[in-house]
Symmetry: C2
Subunit: 471 residues, 2 copies
């Protein structure tokens, strides 16, 4: 057993090292010789496939259609919306040659696809009958990051990006919030992440957006992971691209736009919220394999029981580990992989017509009579899902702080991990001061009533806001 477990640095000793150890031990990613790009291995990609399956279903249920845009953006096209290009040009990869020839115009590999969608929308939106357009794309984007960490910051990112156009500002804003809610529900109910939802400040919003809403998850170490954003663009891009439609009243109008995206970063959030010193702990609702069956020893009765149980639990994704490794090694491996329930089948239990279920999240051992295995598994998977959310919520709540003034804020920022909630005047000067002096950034403005002056400058506050360190 030790062989596998020894590799993982304890979480409370060195969290960063623990994170990379877990990823390596669970074989989620592998380093590649393409600097800054990771290889997503089968165990990691299977989690991504489950994420895609859930989200894609939600997108389709809300009438979104999948499309595929080019991966290259001509430089002149990227340059059309000024704020946008300012935000992205410094971090894109440029293709300058095709085959043996130098290109007349260089192309960037998409860092996001607003301009490609706008260029297309200009062609397909003519009349009010063409609206709304509700598109989504699953693809890889590229951002030329200097430092990278698996799932958290990478030069190549697997993601989805929704891009929609609407007749009115109201319906675009409604869409922005609808998709934010889909992200929130998904992360709470499927990933068991107790996320905080709110609006980014002017300073932190997406390049070119009017409003950016964000899902902020807090990791085990109190550091924030921005885990999905939904943007309202107003008619900024539409005007820059000259997109108009003929309305029912026979006048030309400019449509209103949204975009929203989330990435493989969510896998990082699962690891850093739920993992422990033995490795991954996957919430049952996202675990590609929910049950692993481990026969202990070789015996006809054991083989028979494995068959009986696997026949019984059809519909629940399971694996049988009948390899020649020792039971201890298999247990440890199942734990590293974070499989929610392990079924141990040994002779001693069989004499009582029982097997042992082991919960990955608590390591609790539960003897179950063979005839009740399916019911018990279904029940325990639900319990694990709920318990994992609550455990993460409790831990997060211990790291949510409030500060009334700057002294208190400084004291918390320097001594305690987590987020700090304050009243804020809304001025970027105060936001900058906190960033420069306390090294924490604004996370999001939340929908709560102001109950005092700005904790930073002491003037009248207009918003409640969270600050915190981020990945």
């Amino acid at each position: 057993m030790a062989k596998v477990l020894d590799k993982i640095t304890p979480r409370d000793v060195d969290f960063a090292k623990w994170y990379t150890d877990v990823i390596t031990a669970a074989k989620l990613v592998s380093y590649s010789n393409t600097k800054g790009s990771m290889i997503i291995c089968p165990n990691g990609y299977a989690i991504w496939e489950e994420i895609v399956r859930h989200l894609d279903k939600s997108f389709k249920e809300t009438n979104h259609q999948n499309v595929q845009m080019p991966m290259f953006i001509p430089e002149s096209l990227l340059n059309i919306e000024k704020e946008h290009v300012k935000g992205f040009a410094p971090e894109v990869a440029w293709v300058t040659h095709g085959g043996e020839e130098k290109l007349e115009e260089r192309l960037c590999v998409r860092p996001t696809s607003e301009v490609l969608f706008c260029d297309h929308f200009k062609n397909i939106i003519k009349s009010y009958r063409d609206l709304p357009v509700l598109y989504n794309q699953w693809c890889t984007i590229v951002r030329w990051e200097k430092t990278t960490r698996p799932f958290l910051r990478s030069r190549e990112i697997l993601w989805q990006e929704g891009h929609t156009m609407h007749k009115t500002a109201e319906s675009a804003l409604e869409e922005t919030l609808k998709m934010l809610k889909i992200y929130e529900d998904f992360q709470r109910n499927i990933l068991a992440l107790p996320v905080i939802v709110g609006e980014k400040t002017e300073k932190e919003k997406f390049a070119g957006a009017i409003k950016t809403y964000t899902i902020e998850a807090m990791m085990y170490d109190g550091v924030a992971l921005q885990n999905g954003t939904s943007h309202y663009f107003g008619d900024n891009f539409a005007k820059a691209f000259g997109i108009t439609y003929l309305d029912e009243d026979n006048t030309y109008k400019t449509p209103f736009q949204t975009s929203w995206g989330c990435t493989t970063r969510m896998i990082g959030a699962i690891i850093m919220t739920h993992g422990d010193d033995r490795g991954l702990v996957l919430p049952p609702n996202i675990a590609p394999t929910k049950v692993i069956i481990i026969p202990i020893g070789e015996d006809e009765r054991i083989t028979k029981t494995v068959k009986e149980i696997t026949k019984n639990i059809q519909g629940i994704s399971y694996r049988v580990d009948d390899s020649k490794k020792s039971p201890g090694f298999k247990f440890a491996e199942a734990e590293v992989l974070g499989i929610p329930i392990r079924i141990e089948i040994g002779l001693r239990d069989l004499e009582k017509e029982e097997v042992t279920l082991v919960r990955r999240d608590t390591l609790e051992k539960i003897p179950v009579s063979i005839s009740q295995v399916k019911d018990k598994i279904t029940e325990i998977l639900t319990v694990i899902q709920k318990d994992m959310y609550n455990k993460a919520l409790e831990r997060r709540n211990t790291m949510l702080h409030q500060a009334k003034d700057y002294e208190e804020m400084k004291n918390i920022a320097q001594n305690l991990p987590g987020f700090i909630k304050i009243n804020w005047c809304g001025n970027v000067e105060c936001e900058d001061k906190v960033k420069d002096e306390l090294n924490i950034k604004s996370r999001c403005i939340i929908d709560e009533e102001v109950d005092g002056p700005c904790a930073i400058c002491g003037k009248k506050a207009t918003k409640k806001i969270y600050f915190g360190k981020q990945y």
Copy 2:
């Protein structure tokens, strides 16, 4: 009705124009401002999603695991296998700058990922216990084509690429043929394509492969579309990359490798095999929407019947077109989109407790009593699938020719569309002569007995082979 149909050039007047007209009318793709890259619109992407769903299921059932490799290949890595780089270097896109900095080593955007997989295999394959490795990747690749056509030839291609490593040459060859068979079955049974399966010649095989097997589909105009390939690499790449494993006998050995891929090009094959002058005709097994329900006129009894039928046919993917367009326009639109069955619900039929089913492939109208709609749909979908295959097969068979000598071959090549089957000596000189003089290329060597001398040089033949024009 005319409004939609007029746009499509008749298939027998100008096949190339017909093809692009159908694609435009059915809104499968749209042209983009990124030269050589197409936009795959919702109607086109939905077909791709169905293709992915079917193939991915087959890959998983045969124990393949999905992974994601980097999209960039450092130049030095591409250069490792000599034949391979010779084949691909002239047609790759080069990234030379990241953000504002020039890269130390330029990166190509993957045209295929053999070298990336080999580089990774070198790290993960240590022992015979690690074999076989059975990986697959769904991704976008880039090949810098000079001329492009939607789905057939594009700078960006959506595809899957399988990459596997095996202990022995035999098991690698077995895998190569197993995946070829999965492609063949999928294309025959799901896409209703009567494909020809065989081996590529030395001249036409994949850069770096020992054997390349191919799926050759014949389009309505007699021109071939190479629709998926499966390669056996032997230990070529493994040796170039220094991949070895410690075998059970305690000696180091080199593993054997395969790769196999197919692309969105299959959508082109569906269009060009089954389409007609009214637009797309989709085989039921791949059609994203199998049934479209069109109410004729507004009446309470019609609305009630639509509800009754939709409730009845749950499990079959359907759409109701209750827009304000005229019934004729809706019929034409459903035909352009190739939806296998249209249900017309009008008052006259309702008086007889009937509705009318219309087959897209034959345009046959079938009155069906309302209570039997579901059974009849299920039955007719099966019939359409079978009939479409047989119709394509019959047409293809009329364009399969045989030639005994060069005169006959020349005569056919100059006068008849389709493939020409000949006995062949196996020498590249003969293959080149046909290519240069008759402008047709070898399609594939097939598993049939030789029954005469080489049709080209008259010397002893060793193989049966097909020649034909290609897209």
